[in-house]
């Protein structure tokens, strides 16, 4: 069968299945289960109306259960088993993990990532959004800054490997050091600070995202409030920090938390740049070390990450909802 045919059949079956499901399930409800027979017409209509929303919700609930609830429960169950998955070992995976110094390092590093990356990307995004707003070539600048968003994390890491390369001919940092007569260094091997060199990559990628959202928010601020502030005697800094920023605070929080959630998921950068060596591991890359070798421990790490992300996520969704009102 040609791929074309396959596609068409998939579409027909998919759409037809959906239509068929909604049509038939409602038909069965109205004609067979609660038919509006004379006698208890009103009661049956009311009952059918109570059931109907669930008919529409069922496909979504089913998919959510299959692809979200089951994996979560399944992962948790898996994390209570040993390497092969045969023996139940209770919380042993968790206790070994917490006493592992590599985990502690990854946890601490991740903590720093969460502090630095969302703050850095949001701040730079806000700065760029404000500065490019009045410029004629602002949109070109914005497109350029947004472009890294289109690059995969691994691709971005490869680009930054060149920036950080420890030969002056390739890496810009060492080129500068060479220019002032210093010996080349590998910045990815400087303990502690190498983490920040990795964070720069994610900030570089995410600034574009923050910029686009915050730029739209800044445009939504009523111009009169800015003019009123100017008449009230505010200088450009005061207009920005006391009038504009507070008015888009909700959006800033959404951007901040969205990037925070992302930070807790990204392993690619660490994986591609240092492979987690030189004490640069973060939780997702630490998890990758165990994946496919000891799924019990890997799922335990995954569970810890999920528990950390959860409150940020709840806050994020709440803020986003508030914004929509």
């Amino acid at each position: 069968m040609s791929p074309m045919m396959q596609g068409i059949i998939t579409v027909v079956v998919g759409v037809g299945g959906c239509v068929g499901y909604f049509f038939l399930s409602n038909l069965i409800l109205d004609k067979i289960i609660f038919p509006p027979k004379p006698g208890d017409k009103g009661r049956n209509i009311n009952r059918a109306e109570m059931v109907r929303p669930w008919l529409f919700l069922f496909p979504a609930l089913f998919a959510l259960t299959l692809y979200l609830v089951y994996p979560v429960v399944g992962s948790f169950w898996r994390s209570l088993h040993d390497r092969s998955g045969d023996a139940f070992i209770g919380f042993d995976n968790y206790t070994t993990m917490f006493s592992d110094t590599a985990f502690q390092t990854a946890f601490f590093n991740n903590f720093m990532w969460v502090l630095v990356v969302p703050a850095g990307a949001t701040f730079l995004g806000l700065l760029v959004a404000q500065l490019t707003d009045q410029l004629k070539w602002g949109n070109i600048a914005k497109s350029l800054i947004f472009m890294p968003m289109a690059i995969s994390f691994v691709g971005a890491s490869l680009i930054w490997r060149f920036v950080y390369a420890n030969t002056p001919e390739i890496g810009i940092i060492n080129a500068l050091r060479d220019y002032v007569g210093l010996l080349p260094i590998d910045v990815l091997q400087i303990p502690f600070w190498n983490n920040f060199f990795l964070m720069v990559i994610l900030i570089w990628i995410q600034t574009g995202f923050a910029m686009v959202i915050l730029s739209a928010a800044l445009r939504g601020i009523p111009e009169e409030t800015v003019e009123a502030a100017i008449i009230d005697g505010a200088n450009p800094f005061q207009v920005f920090f006391k009038i504009k920023v507070p008015q888009i605070m909700g959006t800033i929080v959404v951007v901040w938390t969205t990037i925070t959630i992302l930070v807790l998921k990204v392993f690619d950068i660490v994986y591609a740049m240092t492979g987690g060596n030189f004490e640069t591991d973060i939780l997702p890359s630490y998890m990758m070390n165990f994946m496919f070798r000891d799924d019990g421990r890997a799922t335990a790490v995954a569970f810890v990450i999920m528990i950390i992300v959860l409150p940020v996520m709840v806050w994020n969704i709440r803020q986003a909802r508030k914004e929509m009102q």
Partner: protein
Amino acid sequence: MANVKLTDVAKTYGGTVNVLNNINLDIKTGELIVFVGPSGCGKSTLLRMIAGLEKITGGVLEIDGEEMNDVPPAQRGIAMVFQSYALYPHMTVRDNMAFALKLAKKTPTEIDEAVNRAAKVLQLDEYLDRLPKALSGGQRQRVAIGRSIVRDPKVYLFDEPLSNLDASLRVATRIEIAQLKESMPNSTMIYVTHDQVEAMTLASRIVVLANKGIAQVGSPLELYETPENEFVAQFIGSPAMNLLPGEVVSTGAVTGVKVDTGAGTIMANIPTKDSDMGLRVNVGIRPEDMTQTDADNYAFESTVAITEKLGEVTQIYFEQPDKDQNAVIGKLPGIRSGTRGQTMRMTAVPEKLHLFADGVSLLYRG
């Protein structure tokens, strides 16, 4: 507590698009000046130029004798109330009013005193700790006014402050502004509106803007009784003044005119020179000045096309022989029923007639 003087002020956008020209205006201390004009006539632009939000591209603006062209808005001694209130949504009423004073580095006691005083005047005491979104439209506009009062400016600028309010609130707030002005006899106010009633009730003097310039400046009744040109004549008063083409048939202290749509000679209390004999003029009669007559000398005779009974008055729209002309409208006191389809003869007393030649009133000829 200052006068505002504009000399040959002009505004051009991008060096080519000219929106205002030769604006000369001397606003005295304590006056409430209203800018009116059709939309797009530049009245808001002129106000924003005085505020410093738009650059003045020609001429000189002086406040209190000092040239202000390049002085930043905050140092001009002005305060502005915007149509959309422009309250800072994230600040309480108190902070909204205190913002300018905080920026000016006033002491907390000074700020408190000023805010409380303004809140008392505007009856906002109870709402000081609320956010703007918890206030009604009228209260928000009072906060906006309060925000300007606390700064104790030399000149208050109002940019259509009542346009966002509903009809009944507009009347109430208009009266509040009038009372506010009365309580501050020395403060100068400039007020932009497109609403004639606001202009007529609030202004010490009205500035009518049209065609990139000033059409006439004068007290509300001056503009109503002796408009300088046809534009002002038709802009002030509602419905607009009827303009009927005619010819001067007798001159002197009182001028006789023969209206094309009428018969005989009707007299106007306007002096003319002998040389004006036979001059083509437009005879202006306000709808409310129209009276019905049986005499042989009248200004207008036509069939009634539509009547609008408003209770206190009845507005009568006459059939128009020439479709290109604006409808002639009469406003007769009380309820007049059964007039539709009738032919009516209309005229007006000599002191209520206006004569225009080439768009300019004969009273104001050089």
